[in-house]
Amino acid sequence: MRGDVAVPTTWEGHYLDGRSATRQRATIRVMRTGLEATVEGGGTLFWPYREVRQTQGFYAGEQVRLERGGELPEALLVADPAFLVDLRRAAPELGGRFHDPAGRRLRVELTLLAGLAVVAITGALYLWGIPAFAGWVAGRVPVAWEERLGEAVVAELAPPAKRCEDSERARVIGEIAAALTRPMPDFPYRVRVLVVDEPAVNAFALPGGYVVVLRGLIEHTHSAEELAGVLAHELQHVRGRHPTRTLLQHASTALLVAAVTGDVSGALAYGAEGARVLALLRYSRVLEEEADREGTRMLVAAGIDPRGLVGFFESLQKEEGDVPAVLQYLSTHPAPKERIARLRALVARSGAPPAPRLLPDYDWRDLARICPGSSPSPPSGGRRAG
């Protein structure tokens, strides 16, 4: 019984001398300033608490291992965790730094708290932190770097062999693009529009000012205003540096995945997808809305009727069930119904006076001939613009 007479309790354990692999039985007494161990092979040790560190015995069933020495220490091993309780009680100040088995419950609770914090932090980073970071960095990437990245990607996505380089018709597209950027003399990029001979209905912007338009999309437009609307949308992706931002967001999310799963290969898998993402240009809805909003403004500023963009989406939606190629565009630019409604509201709010026709003397169906061997007439079921 512990009372006035402090009788040190003895514990059965083992001693390792750190020089040979044999362990010797030892009887250990917990004293006020240290441990006294009588080793079966003969000899007694005294280990002051200050020189002792605990390296094992933090989990249920784990033997308590106390080490003393430098790189290659000696060790005392005790199987019973009650030994630690005894030690902490016998030497309150010096023994306080050893593990308290009673504190294991608190450890579980703290771990649960840490788990909740992880969920909260991960959520906050993914939803807010990473997009904010990507936006900040993208704003500071030199234009020359973006152009070089764009050139590298455009060689993949618009291989020279598949480009439609009819100079007369390309000039028409160039005129539209120039009309859009004329009111913005500080547009930071050199705009280059490329037409690729593919039947899919799609267009996308690449870092550095490249806009790639697929033949299928041109075939589905019915007027210069419609193509101008699509180009304005894509040019706003360029101006807002959305491709670069999305790339950065993907890279950061890959790192976050690696941190949470503790697995770098997970990040690699996610990173590899980043390359695909750029090709598919699956922007977040925030960036899409930004491109729509600013694109409408761009059209109005250039004196082009913004209803062309709305008309283009409406005709696409009508064909949704009929022409599978249309689905491509709709999958990368989501939610057409809400989008059309929002665009209509934007157009109404813009208060733009009715604009003169863009390229009134040009037969729009002629543009679809920009690619060799393509059919100039719009597909059946499409609406003809007045």
């Binding site: 840490a114 932090i121 941190a259």
Partner: protein, 365 residues
């Protein structure tokens, strides 16, 4: 080719390793690691890895004494930085530089070849470095393990092995595998006690050859079965040709996948039994009793766990794998450790000069 029959009980004095840890505790460590890694913007990642390793070793015991891990997060961080500087950066520059600068195609091709050469050298250096580091930081009864093979020797072995395997279309590969394993095992020490490996290339070649044969037979049988099923079905039901082809390919593919998994389990268990059975230590021999069915079951369940939880279940998967490994491994007899002395090799995380760098121990985490 002496081989222990699978699943038999060992002699009475065979010694086993035991694992006492739990997936729950490891998951707790993992959660705290993630929390601190996020808080420190990634820096804690290396300390987290050390915590996991320390737990896994501390929960493993042999003859009533636990193993111990003595590494530090700082060492892992330094090792990672060194690998990045010495290998990562040059490879990145060589892989992308010529294209960015617009160099001639010949220069670009030369750079790619150089990249492959560097990567080919990097793997053996990393394998040796990691083994050297991990063994030097592991102990049992306070006696440290060590690895004393020289990196240059292994680089030579590795490069020659890969080239020979490529030139012989894989026929040489089993011999290469044996030489690699022999190098790793025979330069490993516990204190001053050396591990030994007496496996032979011819034996392993037979195992690999039989493995390929079993796999080919299994895959072939799978498609034959699919053809039979399609044929019988076509007798009963009128099916268009495309549906028949789809059925054969789909069913055949699925069955072939199962056959591949089974063949792999059969091959891997035989390989493990051979490699362990030819490893000696302190007057005893290891013996593995792993068999294909439990191995296959373990692997499939682990895969399902990981996929189903998007990787979060890896603490439980790790514990399952360790428990499994220990259950099927034993030492025949008691190792004679009376004369074993501490003979820790000084392994620093920094080295001087190329030789120092090559033979320093470093781990990538």
């Amino acid at each position: 080719m002496a081989e222990a029959p699978a699943g038999s009980d060992g002699p009475a004095e065979s010694r086993r390793l035991h694992f006492h840890g739990s997936g729950g505790s490891l998951f707790g460590i993992h959660i705290v690691n993630i929390f601190l890694t996020l808080l420190t913007l990634g820096v804690y990642y290396f300390w987290g890895k050390v915590r996991v390793r320390r737990y896994l070793l501390s929960e493993s015991d042999f003859e009533g004494d636990r193993f111990a891990f003595h590494g530090t997060g700082r060492e892992l961080l330094v090792g990672w930085l060194r690998a990045l500087l010495v290998f990562g950066v040059p490879v990145a520059i060589l892989a992308n530089g010529p294209e960015l600068v617009g160099a001639a195609p010949a220069v670009q091709a030369g750079a790619i070849v150089l990249v492959y050469a560097i990567v080919l050298v990097f793997f053996p250096v990393a394998m040796v470095g990691a083994r050297r580091y991990r063994l030097s930081r592991s102990s049992w009864r306070e006696i440290r393990f060590s690895f004393r093979g020289r990196a240059l020797d292994f680089i030579r072995l590795y490069v020659v092995g890969w080239l020979a395997s490529a030139l012989t279309l894989g026929v040489y590969y089993p011999f290469f595998a044996v030489r690699r394993h022999a190098f790793m095992v025979s330069h490993s020490y516990f204190g001053n006690e050396r591990f030994r490996f007496d496996g032979r290339g011819e034996d392993v070649f037979a195992i690999y050859g039989l493995g390929v044969l079993v796999w080919a037979l299994g895959a072939g049988a799978a498609f034959l079965v699919a053809l039979l099923v399609a044929f019988l079905l076509a007798l009963v039901v009128r099916l268009p040709a495309s549906a028949v082809v789809g059925l054969v390919l789909g069913l055949g593919g699925a069955l072939a996948l199962m056959a591949t998994a089974a063949a792999w389990a059969w091959f891997e268990s035989r390989r493990q039994r051979y490699f362990w059975g030819h490893t000696r230590f302190a007057g005893t021999r290891f013996r593995s009793t792993v068999a294909a069915p439990p191995l296959l079951r373990l692997t499939l369940v682990n895969l399902a766990l990981l996929l189903g939880t998007l990787g979060l279940a890896w603490p439980w998967v790790t514990v399952r794998r360790l428990r499994f490994a220990f259950e099927y491994l034993a030492l025949e007899g008691t190792p004679d450790l009376a004369g074993t002395q501490q003979e820790a090799q000084v392994v620093t995380a920094t080295g001087e000069g190329l030789a120092g760098f090559l033979d320093a121990g470093f781990d990538l985490g």
